[in-house]
Amino acid sequence: MEHPILFISIILEKLGLPVPHGFVGHTFLEQICAPYMTYTWLVMAFLFIVSKLTLGNLEMIPGGGQNFWEIVIGGMDDFFADNMGREMTDKLFPMIATFALYIAVANLIGLIPGFMSPTSSINTTLALTIIVWITHHVIGFRAHGLNYYKHFIGPMWWLIPLMLPIELISNFARLLSLSIRLFGNIMAKETLLGILFMLAGAFFAPLPIMVLGVLVSLVQAMVFVLLTVVYIAQAQEHAH
């Protein structure tokens, strides 16, 4: 099902660019002009411009915009430091905070008619998940060296034949669970909104789903970040 009206796609079509009429494009240019790509750039531009505009000149006694960012960033910083430790937070804060802001804005932007959530594409969510997955293994190796393998062999040596496959599968399943959870939730929201909009948009039928959509968008962003923090914290811990 194609999204009803996406203003960026319409603009690109008017410019003569090949916007795919389906979920994905076939040529490279079509793939780049796919709505989830263009809306990703929109979200990126939005985050960059908003933060640039709201943080004109920083003061010791914060004003409106600075106050908001201080609460958001200070809150995340405290939360990450509580769970991963101060040192790891200082290193990884930009990555995890970017995930939080990007996913929250990308999820919420789909609630506005004419926009779509970039997170309703598996390519976006899987890209985020792969970064998290690689990062947590890199942190595990850096923290424990080659002893990191002990995370995968269970508590006793004679349980290795049982535990090793289970641990490996559960670790690789993180790739699927993180990406498909976010993708599934947001795609379901987008699809449902699209259908309701087409069926009875004039009667405000999508409104209840939009209310739920706000909740789902924020909860999914929180879940993704929470799991990222948990995976990184686990990778740092000693194996049992």
């Binding site: 990126m44 970017t98 985020l128």
Partner: protein, 141 residues
């Protein structure tokens, strides 16, 4: 619907670019000011504690000085009181001695007068007795 293609890699690059951008315009400045503020707050707190300690020390010093001054004043008062009492007693003793001397002198004068009066009376006793007897008898003896 679930199709993975080259955009997966582009999205990864996008996110990494966004990380750098936001780190530059958002995280670094905000975290910097948060840290600066907490440092400043800590500094102010330390300053408050230092001032508090200073004030307490000064109060103690003032109390000590007050106690010293009070004991000094008390000692001065006591010594002045003793001096005044001693001076009073001395003066009293001098007056008493003067009065005693005066009295002695007056007493001795009085005594000498009594004695001289007694003596003169004694001397004129015979004359008086003769005169009295002559008056009683109505003739001279």
């Amino acid at each position: 619907m679930i199709t993975m293609d080259i955009t997966l890699v582009i999205q990864m690059i996008n996110i990494i670019i966004l990380m750098f951008l936001l780190n530059k315009v958002l995280y670094k400045p905000v975290l910097g000011i948060l840290r600066e503020r907490s440092k400043k707050m800590k500094g102010t707190q330390e300053e408050i504690e230092r001032f508090d300690k200073d004030a307490r020390l000064r109060q103690e010093e003032v109390d000590k000085k007050m106690a010293q001054a009070s004991s000094k004043a008390k000692a001065a008062l006591d010594s002045a009181r003793t001096e005044a009492a001693a001076a009073g007693n001395e003066k009293l003793a001098a007056i008493k001695a003067e009065v005693d001397a005066d009295r002695e002198k007056k007493m001795s004068e009085l005594k000498s007068q009594i004695d001289s009066a007694g003596k003169s009376l004694q001397e004129s006793l015979d004359t008086f007795a003769g005169d009295m007897a002559g008056k009683i008898l109505g003739r001279s003896l």
